[in-house]
């Protein structure tokens, strides 16, 4: 999909969420859904396979998010998947998150950890990243077992890697 179309979808979703007054929550849910979409081959193939009828793809979204996410999040994802743009869902959501963060003068900070972070840890980490980058950050935490341990933080083009995965890879390279 072209950047303009992704931008258009992102702007539409952003406006809907903001109009619904649930932008922060929807943005967070969409972000986590996008990361799950990227890491799960079966989910990605189910939502992007043109041979699967749109109704069935929407039913899959409903099964996944029904009762676990806000209705707005479910409807927005259903809208994108129903339009046959499931393949561009991560790009659309990332653009939406960037737009939402920009609206709040924040920089998106994607943080990957092996275990969930507590609210206190997220607050202290956001403060630490703001202190390190000189910009206020919109923290997006992704639980990724591939990290194994530690934290990987990406703020714009800056990557701060404190993961066990990377240390193990370095050790393997030396071996």
């Amino acid at each position: 999909m072209s950047d303009a179309r992704i931008e258009g979808y992102a702007r539409g979703l952003f406006e809907i969420a903001r109009a619904e007054g649930t932008l922060d929550e929807v943005e967070d849910e969409l972000f986590r859904f996008a990361r799950s979409f990227e890491s799960s081959d079966s989910l990605r193939s189910a939502l992007t396979d043109d041979m699967i009828p749109a109704a069935k793809r929407l039913a899959i979204v409903e099964d996944l998010l029904g009762g676990k996410a806000t209705a707005t999040t479910t409807q927005l994802i259903s809208m994108v998947v129903g339009a046959g743009r499931g393949r561009d869902l991560p790009a659309i959501i990332d653009t939406l998150v960037a737009r939402a963060s920009s609206a709040k003068n924040l920089e998106v900070a994607e943080v990957r950890t092996a275990v969930p972070l507590s609210a206190d840890q997220q607050a202290r980490l956001a403060a630490a990243l703001a202190n390190a980058t000189g910009r206020q950050v919109n923290l997006k935490v992704v639980v990724d077992p591939a990290v194994i341990g530690g934290v990987v933080a990406t703020v714009g083009d800056t990557v701060i890697d404190g993961s066990v995965r990377t240390r193990i890879d370095q050790l393997k390279s030396r071996l």
């Binding site: 980490l125 933080a153 701060i160 404190g162 071996l175």
Partner: protein, 193 residues
């Protein structure tokens, strides 16, 4: 009585010589050895006449026969000489052929020995080259196998090491360690400003 006796008696009769006859009817003479003069003369003349006639009429035939015989003998001698010469020539040719055969035999043997020596030399050279090639190839294969075995061993060690690292690290990452790693990260990032 032979022809000469008859001619002698005939001569005596013609000359009017008297002969005696014995009781048995044999003619007798005055000498047991020599004839009478007339008989001698007539006999001599008769003999000369006969020899003359023989010489005149028989001589050419005899000469011709002798000449023919001589010619035939000469021809036979010539033929024998020719045969002898031919035999000598043939013998010479045989001797020459024998000599040629000996020379050819010697030449063939010499060439065969040279060829055998050449084949042997080439065979040795080829064998030495093949041995050298085999040695080189074997050395290369041994080196390659050693290198490959080393690579495989290193790869296997690396794989086992990776598995061991994953196992040990993941096994040691309990919740407390996870929290410690996160807190350490937050502290380090916060202090890096």
């Amino acid at each position: 009585m032979n022809v000469l006796g008859i001619a002698t008696v005939a001569g005596r009769l013609i000359a009017g010589e008297e002969f005696g006859v014995d009781s048995d009817g044999h003619i007798t003479s005055h000498s047991w050895l020599l004839p009478d003069k007339a008989e001698l003369i007539w006999g001599t003349l008769s003999s000369l006449l006969i020899f003359g006639l023989l010489w005149k009429f028989g001589g050419p035939a005899i000469k011709k026969g002798m000449a023919a015989r001589t010619e035939r003998i000469q021809k036979e001698l010539d033929a024998a000489a020719a045969d002898k010469a031919a035999a000598a020539t043939e013998a010479a040719e045989i001797r020459q052929a024998k000599g040629d055969i000996e020379a050819a035999r010697a030449r063939i043997l010499g060439e065969a020995e040279e060829q055998a020596a050449l084949v042997l030399s080439e065979g040795r050279a080829r064998l030495e080259q093949e041995i050298a090639d085999v040695r080189t190839r074997t050395s290369a294969e041994i080196a390659s196998m050693g290198s490959r075995a080393g690579d495989e061993l290193r790869a296997e060690i690396a794989r086992l090491s990776h598995a061991a690292v994953d196992h040990v690290v993941k096994g040691s990452l309990d919740d407390a360690t996870q929290q410690e790693l996160i807190e350490s990260f937050i502290s380090r990032v916060g202090a890096s400003a």
